[in-house]
Symmetry: C2
DNA sequence: TAACTATATAACAATTTACTTATATAATCA
DNA sequence: TGATTATATAAGTAAATTGTTATATAGTTA
């Protein structure tokens, strides 16, 4: 059994389609180096909370991200155990950093950093 | 002006969505090292000719592939002048070769190699 | 415990997507 | 030139997608 599994085209297409949405792509790029909670995404994207939750659910269902409850917040992070993690990070590498979006939250004082 | 332009997220998402379809992803992977015509794709994917043409059109409209007429056939190839070419090939690198699909055509004698 | 905050889910509507069939165009061949 | 082959495009349809609003759930706080 090989350590490096070759992704099959069908599944690769599913992953690419998931990343083929500006909101989800930016989310995943943000999670490349950070952990974020739902309410931060809501503020960053200026979208309704259900819409954000639904995007996160799709990413979670595919195993690309994982959630972790910390008191009232649920934090999401990139799932580095996913068989798709190397594929996804190789794509993210080519995208511009989205850190300034988090910097703005910090300036406004709405960045959540609990525990 | 930098040679290496940083892709913006909106456009990157559009490209990823285009690749997020099994048929189109396989087409682009095939075109990584080959040139193929429409009728070859029709046979490989066992899909209707209009459906194949429509997929190719989307890829062409985005500038990812280009077409070239050679007598009655129209051959498609990856457009290495596209600003997205490096991005796309970096994704294709991680996907399994689809060459065996062309090998089958050669066996059946339906591979088009004109001019 | 009641009110509040963060999040998820359900139900629905508008839009987009990916096919289909029918038809048009362009090149070749008899 | 008429028939054939390769391809594109148009129109229509079913399914998928992405947002919305309403509501449920779970934790926190007064």
């Amino acid at each position: 059994m090989s350590v490096q599994t070759v992704p099959d085209m069908q599944k690769a297409a599913v992953i690419l389609k998931l990343l083929g949405d500006k909101t989800r792509l930016t989310m995943v790029k943000l999670l490349e180096n950070q952990t974020c909670c739902v309410c931060e995404f809501v503020e960053i994207f200026q979208m309704s909370q259900p819409s954000i939750s639904q995007h996160l659910r799709k990413l979670r269902d595919a195993g690309l991200i994982r959630e972790e409850r910390r008191s009232q917040w649920i934090f999401y992070s990139l799932n580095n155990d996913s068989e798709w993690y190397p594929f996804v990070t190789s794509i993210l590498e080519n995208l511009p950093s989205q850190e300034e979006k988090l910097k703005e939250l910090e300036k406004k004082g709405t960045r959540i950093t609990c525990c």
